[in-house]
């Protein structure tokens, strides 16, 4: 696999992440609105919609966080880092990104255990949907974030936007 393939692969992953997020958000809006309409016309909403909406909040939030890692756009305190001079800043960034890879990977690893547990106990989330499926986003999102920070570590963006 040469460099061109990797670039193409990353672009494909970007697009998949984007569209997953957008479709989940669209589903969230549509479900939330129909639920209100339903509640007003038939007295009660559809039972499984509320837990599904809550699950979507988790999925949308974590997907948004994954996309934020793509450009290293997470909330941080950059008050002090401003005073680190350009030459050292580059090294500091590498350390920071390496550290992010480690923590995200650790969380991904332990989330797999969590998902596995609910898989073995066959816990149900709602309406027959097994809990482990709804939990799957946690290891996936943290795994993807580890991957994103790994990419940033390997090829830091040229223009150092600070």
């Amino acid at each position: 696999m040469n460099k061109r393939h990797i670039v193409r692969l990353i672009k494909a992953v970007n697009r998949i992440e984007d569209w997953l997020l957008i479709s989940m958000l669209a589903a969230m809006v549509i479900l939330a609105v129909t639920q209100i309409v339903y509640r007003n016309f038939s007295g009660g909403g559809v039972v499984w919609v509320d837990p599904l909406l809550r699950m979507l909040v988790l999925w949308v939030a974590l997907s948004g966080a994954v996309i934020a890692s793509r450009t290293d756009n997470h909330i941080r305190i950059d008050f002090f880092a401003k005073y680190i001079s350009g030459k050292y800043y580059f090294y500091v960034k590498r350390v920071v990104h390496a550290y992010c890879v480690v923590i995200c990977a650790v969380i991904a690893w332990y989330s797999i255990k969590f998902v596995q547990m609910d898989y073995e106990y066959e816990t149900e989330a709602f309406a027959g949907v097994p809990a482990w499926i709804t939990e799957l986003i946690i290891p996936v999102a943290f795994g993807l974030m580890a991957f994103r920070y790994f990419l940033l570590l390997m090829s830091p963006p040229r223009s150092s936007k600070r």
């Binding site: 809006v29 939330a32 209100i36 988790l58 948004g64 997470h74 941080r76 332990y110 989330s111």
Partner: protein
């Protein structure tokens, strides 16, 4: 101790906050021999909190509104109503900014969207440059206390997780923010009226025809705040339902009826708005874990006992709280500050007999000033970027506004009735 130093180093190096909070949770749980998959259980609690649904929905509505020309119409409408006032356009700016910030949640958007219209207009009308810049920069965070402020929702969510005995309902928070928010607006209005007497300002005349035209062009947007606020306060909508209605309404009006936001742009807007939501909620998610660890090891209780042994009056506590929050607001944005500090401060405040709702308003009122406090308030940089002015010029121009709002914060802090009056006397 070593752990604290390591965390401090991570902060200084600019490690993302969610990584730092996750580090402390992982470290904490492993030190008391709890299986680390507990962190996933805590993150999953995001899916157990029904109100959170309001945050992505209101944010999306705000982003779509920010992309439309609603900001221009809002300025024209406010001008038609208030432009004849002494202080003229300055007062218009204050009201329009507060309103727009409340509706769009994120306050950086206000300076970019409204500043582009108000700054040149005020310049042309003859306001002094310094006053103009200061006013717009400091108005960018004015709506933080008005519904449906996302910061208020987030405070409610965190306070509800804390189980502190008293119920912290989000619609009560919305009521509580009204009078303090209006009070801040009123002080700034008086100041603007006073300042503009010295300047030779062209005031616009009040004309019914102008008002009629402005009302007519905003005919689609005007019902929205009434539907939302009315719906929430009357108990007809839950907060998250109001958010769903807001999204639907904004999409129908701006995309379908007025067609100011092209359908093609919608996916990008949706993605960008959720990057913001994801950034905030992932911090909330990992801090549910770290907060749980803190509570398990009784850190808030011990912290309270320690503080109580040093400070015995509520007054001193509040004074120190104000100073602390102002400093905090200078280096942290409002969302991270809420998530990190409320779990520690809330139990203390309750111990000093401060109502949780009152604390929430104090917290946000301080944070609002932090947005434009030199040297690092976020809005200073947004304004500097937007108006091509050196940040130092913005420092000097915002100072009078900062002092006025600090005075307002003192009143809000030491006069709890201002906050609690509407909550305690709500209808029914």
């Amino acid at each position: 101790m070593i752990a604290a130093i390591i965390l401090a180093v991570l902060v200084v190096l600019g490690v993302p906050l969610f990584i730092i909070i996750a580090t402390s949770a992982l470290y904490g749980f492993s030190s008391i021999d709890v299986d680390l998959s507990v962190i996933a259980i805590e993150i999953y609690r995001i899916a157990d909190t029904p109100v959170l649904l309001a945050i992505p929905l209101f944010t999306l509505a705000g982003y779509v509104l920010g992309e439309s020309k609603a900001s221009e119409r809002l300025v024209r409408l406010t001008d038609a109503m208030l432009g004849w006032f002494p202080g003229g356009l300055a007062v218009v700016s204050l009201f329009a900014c507060a309103f727009f910030t409340a509706l769009t949640g994120a306050s950086g958007a206000t300076i970019i969207a409204l500043g582009a219209i108000l700054y040149p207009a005020m310049k042309q009308a003859g306001y002094a440059e310094n006053f103009n810049l200061g006013l717009i920069t400091s108005s960018g965070s004015l709506g933080l206390l008005f519904p449906p402020s996302i910061a208020l929702i987030l405070y409610g969510v965190i306070a509800q997780q804390m189980d502190i005995g008293e119920k912290v309902a989000i619609d009560d928070l919305f009521l509580a923010g009204l009078l303090p928010g209006l009070f801040m607006l009123m002080l700034l209005t008086l100041w603007s009226m006073y300042k503009s007497t010295g300047m030779h300002i062209v005031r616009s005349e009040f004309r019914w025809s102008k008002l009629g035209a402005a009302l007519l062009e905003s005919i689609w947007e005007i019902p929205m705040p009434f539907v939302l606020i009315g719906g929430i306060y009357s108990g007809y909508f839950a907060i998250s339902e109001a958010a769903a209605v807001a999204v639907l309404y904004v999409l129908v009006v701006e995309v379908v009826i007025l067609r100011e936001v092209p359908l093609k742009k919608l996916p990008d807007i949706m993605r960008d708005s959720m990057v913001l939501v994801g950034g905030v909620l992932i911090i909330l998610a990992v801090s549910l874990a770290s907060t749980n660890y803190l509570i398990d090891t009784e850190v808030p209780v011990r912290l309270f006992e320690f503080v109580k042994s040093k400070i015995d009056s509520q007054l001193t506590f509040l004074m120190l709280l104000n100073i602390f929050l102002l400093l905090l607001g200078m280096i942290l944005d409002v969302f991270s500050a809420l998530v990190i500090m409320v779990p520690l401060i809330l139990p203390m405040a309750v111990g000093y007999n401060i109502h949780p709702i009152h604390l929430g308003i104090i917290f946000l009122a301080n944070m609002q000033i932090g947005y434009f406090t030199p040297p690092v308030g976020m809005n200073l940089f947004i304004a500097s970027y937007r108006f091509h002015k050196p940040v130092t010029e913005l420092y000097t121009s915002t100072i009078p506004f900062m002092f006025i709002l600090m005075a307002a914060v003192l009143v809000i802090t030491y006069w709890p009735e201002l906050t609690m009056y509407l909550v305690e006397n709500k209808g029914g």
